[in-house]
Amino acid sequence: MRWFWLDRFTEFVSGSHATALKCVSLSEDYLHDHWVYYPVMPNSLVAEGMAQTGGLLVSELYAFGELVVLAKFAKCQFDGEVRPGETLRYRAEILQAKDAGASVQVSAHVGDRKHAEAEIFFARLGPESGDVPADTRLFDPAHLLHWLRLVGVFDVGVRQDGTRLDPQDYGFVTQS
């Protein structure tokens, strides 16, 4: 199993907000390890999907080049359950951002029903923070680019003036 908790972005506006979809399928292993006769998506994994949606939005704020880590869920609330065959729609909106980190409001809907809502903090661990050695990185840039492409960041991503996001603007080496 791979640690992808959103399938693709349908909207990604730099420094502002993003929307992503997660389709829940009975073929996913975790559904069979939770409640065997009543498969539901565990809310901890919904929270991970919300964190990945907000985290990539925040990571873009720092040009995908900094260490951005989930710091805390300041608030998190769930209502109901998510079953196989349903689609989660995550929407993340940046509330505040600084050099040291950012806060994001994220909701998860199934159709019109709000399933979850959270306020999530991400910390940016720059070398000046003293928290990590200067050459530390979370992802190999090629792997990060692969992930961003898989989930469609560069298919739908735009800046606030409407111009498209381009991998080369972030220093990613792309093959022509």
């Binding site: 710091a71 805390k72 300041a74 608030k75 509330l95 505040q96 600084k98 050099d99 040291a100 980190g101 806060s103 903090f121 910390a123 003293g130």
Partner: protein, 128 residues
């Protein structure tokens, strides 16, 4: 300019939301790290909430001057030296550092920061 009571009330609300503590726990003399269990990431949360509540901008290191506490010019053997103390007083006129001065071990500063210090900080910012 809001009154001291207004400032305390908003600071209290910010700390309740950021730290998940009860309103009654947030007294003026309560220490952020010692009594309210604030961790380092909570300070960013607190800063965001104070900025929003009071419509102010708080720069990095303004509330908690970590640059002084990590500077070998001011810290020797884990303790802040007299030059460092003078620098801290200059940067933190809102905080009562008398207790810290008695035993200036770096870690003590965060442990001793109180809710009242936060209120003083906001008042200091608003009057600037």
């Amino acid at each position: 300019m809001p009154t001291k009571t207004d400032i305390f009330s908003k600071v209290q609300e910010a700390l309740v939301d950021a730290l998940g503590v009860e309103e009654e726990e947030v007294t003026p003399e309560a220490t952020l790290q010692g009594d309210l269990d604030a961790e380092s990431i909570d300070f960013l949360d607190i800063v965001f909430r104070l900025e929003k509540a009071f419509d102010i901008k708080i720069e990095r290191g303004e509330l908690f001057p970590e640059d002084i506490l990590t500077n070998t010019e001011y810290v020797v053997d884990g303790k802040v030296n007299p030059t460092g103390i003078a620098k801290l007083k200059e940067r933190m006129p809102f905080a009562d550092l008398s207790k810290f001065e008695a035993d200036p071990v770096v870690q003590n500063l965060g442990q001793q920061l109180t809710v009242q210090d936060m209120c003083n900080f906001v008042e200091h910012k608003l009057s600037a």
